[in-house]
Amino acid sequence: AAATKKTYIVHMAKSQMPASFRHHAHWYDSSLKAVSGSAEMMYVYKNAIHGFSARLTAKQAKYLENQPGVLSVWPEMKYQLH
């Protein structure tokens, strides 16, 4: 169960992006790779939020929450048509 991956939405504080990164997507990728070398981003968001979505284990998601510049990590939720 610990290895089961789920989708998470990761909100980033773009203002905290280190100057060494030229593009926010590279910084997001670096933050993600810090918790999982194999994890890949699904979406990179730039208008609706600053952040990305990725498949992670619960442990990786918890670890990612403590990375510099990470505001919050939310598990995927299902919405319904009305």
């Binding site: 939020i49 939720m77 919405y79 009305h82």
Partner: protein, 650 residues
């Protein structure tokens, strides 16, 4: 849609509505199940070139190419990565991996908001007329985010992200999730960014009524839409063997019942399983229902599923009876067998006959379409209700709009019931939900945006809210289908939209990003939570006293308690009409004193702003959960700028 343009007063456009050129510059983005582009509602005849500001695309995929877009349907994208990651890869033989609509819901909502006019529309002859969207000349961009297995918020966020970049003016979302804090709700967060970009976000309130606290999409930068009925019905009465007759509604089309009374049975007495009265799949005894009309109770499974269950068991027809949850609200369905839906009172009376007569019989008489039904609108029982579960200081829903038995465009991939066994294909379908009322408001917002291009999303919403009505022309307050009694601001918000009045509201309650940031401070959100919602570092001023109730909102929700018996709110009105003096009138509940200062506001120039304060004082504490309602109106004799007041004790 048919009938709703007339019901809303926008069928006769001369002198009221914006020029067609201005309207055709407005782009409505619809996040839903996709689109069936071939229906006439997306015909682009008479439309000029796509607005030069548009940066969107028409993405190809299964059975969908860029050639499916035109000058009406100017954008179509699909977002499936989140869905596929959670639910598995899309089987393209079973589901279109493209903007094409498998379901019908997205085609219905998109055509309701901005469909072109189609003469001679109907569903099997029901609801006939010229069908059109609310903003017939606005452009549509479809963002498919819902699939057969559901809608996932990573996809919804991706679609909102792209829609902002593409350059939509209005976003229409007939979907929602659980009520959580705004920083944990993707629609709320995405809508904040959209609003900051000048995009009005209109969302459905959900269908969890009549329970209180049942709203979705309750953030104050979202326009939250509940549902009401039209003045149209589809009568299909039940005649019993004892000579009594009960009214019901149906969209059944097919072979009629034989011209005689048929044996009649209660599903609960034709089943050996618990809950057999609900006509759940496999619950009916074929021996006991064959050739008979079966009475099923509402609940648990879909209404059309019950019809299919009765038909599969050999039943000849179905009477579907409301329970206390739905009250007297009648929602019509295009059942696969002769069937009608009846209210709770009729259902109870029919059951009394079924249980007392040893050989009960019945038949159903289908009577087509009836218009001019009064009173209308009636608040739909299913329409979700306040108080706002996230922020009690913000009254939601904002408005109600037509959402019951709405005819609009449909997919070619599914029948009108949506059941797998329904092989019928229709260009228009009649369905109900706050999903249907939301795109009405999206289209009306497009009209307002075309008429007033400089208005902010908050200004457009304010115009819709302050001009909404809460009483029938013939007198009496709007009725709630769930109770048969007058509905309250927690049910209908500011009331039913009146778009013609909204075009010239006189005054508006405007709000901008700074106002919403101050609102987030009032909620005591941490800097990190504020950053999650707003994408910026924002430091709340520790010396400032923030109040959620002070957000410049066009309605008032006032939480009181034993320890807090007096609350003061401030509001600012902006003149968007002629110069003039507005006087306030207050209708306050007996137990609460509502005082407004000053009582007159004079405006001499356009966009001039004037503030006022309202003090709500309760001399005595009331029991927790007690609700009371009132209204504050400003009028210059020509305009009435109305705000509902809802006071709740905790």
């Amino acid at each position: 849609t048919t009938r709703t343009p007339m019901f809303l007063g926008i069928d006769e456009t001369a002198g009221f509505l914006p020029s067609s050129a201005a309207e055709s510059d407005i782009i409505i983005g619809v996040l839903d199940t996709g689109v069936w582009p071939e229906i006439k509602s997306f015909d682009d005849s008479g439309l000029g070139p796509v607005p030069s500001s548009w940066k969107g695309e028409c993405e190809g995929g299964t059975n969908f190419t860029a050639a499916n877009c035109n000058r009406k349907l100017i954008g179509a994208r699909f977002f499936s990565m989140g869905y596929e990651a959670s639910a598995g890869a899309i089987n393209e033989t079973d589901e279109y991996k493209s903007p094409r609509d498998d379901d019908g819901h997205g085609t219905h909502t998109a055509s309701t908001a901005a469909g072109s006019q189609v003469v001679g529309a109907s569903l099997f002859g029901y609801a006939p007329g010229s069908a059109r969207g609310m903003a017939t000349r606005a452009r549509v961009a479809v963002y498919k985010v819902c699939w057969k297995g559901g809608c996932y918020n990573s996809d919804i966020l991706a679609a909102m992200d792209k829609a902002i970049e593409d350059g939509v003016n209005i976003l229409s979302l007939s979907l929602g999730g659980a009520s959580v804090d705004y920083y944990g709700d993707s629609i709320a967060v995405g809508a904040f960014a959209a609003t900051e970009n000048g995009i009005l976000v209109s969302c459905s309130a959900a269908n969890a009524g009549p329970a209180p606290f049942s709203l979705s999409n309750s953030a104050p930068w979202i326009t939250t839409v509940g549902a009401g009925t039209l003045d149209r019905d589809f009568p299909a009465s039940v005649s019993l063997g004892n000579g009594k007759k009960f009214s019901g509604v149906s969209l059944y089309h097919g072979d009629p019942l034989p011209g005689k009374l048929l044996p009649f049975v209660y599903a609960g007495n034709a089943s050996n399983v618990t809950g057999g009265n609900l006509c759940i799949d496999g619950s009916l005894d074929g021996e006991k229902v064959k050739g008979k009309i079966v009475l099923c109770d509402r609940g648990v499974n879909a209404r059309v599923d019950k019809g299919a269950v009765v038909k599969a068991a050999g039943g000849a027809g179905m009477v579907l009876a409301n329970t206390a949850l739905q009250g007297e609200e009648l929602v019509a369905d295009a059942h696969l067998l002769p069937a009608t839906s009846v209210g709770q009172k009729s259902g109870d009376a029919i059951k009394t006959y079924l249980f007392s007569d040893p050989n009960p019989t019945a038949t159903i008489l289908f009577q087509g379409t009836k218009v001019g039904v009064e009173p209308s609108p009636i608040l739909a029982a299913f329409s979700s209700r306040g108080p706002n579960p996230v922020t009690p200081e913000i009254l939601k829903p904002d408005v109600i709009a037509p959402g019951v038995n709405i005819l609009a465009g449909w997919t070619g991939a599914a029948g009108p019931t949506g059941l797998p066994e329904d092989s019928r294909r229709v260009e228009f379908n009649i369905i109900s939900g706050t999903s249907m009322s939301c795109p009405h408001v999206s289209g009306l917002a497009a009209l307002l945006k075309a008429a007033h291009p400089t208005w902010s999303p908050a200004a457009i919403r304010s115009a819709l809210m302050t001009t909404a009505y809460t009483a029938y022309k013939s007198g009496g307050q709007l009725i709630d289908a769930a109770t048969g009694k007058p509905s309250t601001p927690y049910d209908h918000g500011s009331g039913h939209v009146d778009p013609v009045s909204a075009l010239n509201p006189g005054l508006i309650y405007d709000a901008n990003t700074d106002d919403y940031l101050n609102f987030l401070c009032a909620l005591n959100y941490t800097p990190s939570q504020i950053n999650t919602v707003s994408k910026r570092n924002f430091t709340c001023d520790s010396t400032k006293k923030y109040s959620a109730g002070d957000l410049n909102y066009p309605s008032f929700a006032v939480p009181l308690s034993g320890s807090k018996s007096s609350v003061k709110y401030t509001r600012t009105l902006t003149n968007v009409g002629e110069s003039g003096a507005y006087k306030v009138s207050v209708s306050s509940p007996d137990s609460v004193k509502v005082s407004v200062e000053p009582q007159t506001l004079s405006f001499t120039t356009m966009n001039e702003k004037k503030s006022y304060t309202v003090t709500f004082s309760a001399p005595a504490a009331m029991a927790s959960g007690t609700n009371m309602f009132g209204r504050i109106e400003w009028s210059d004799g020509k305009h009435v700028v109305g705000s509902p007041v809802a006071i709740t004790w905790s």
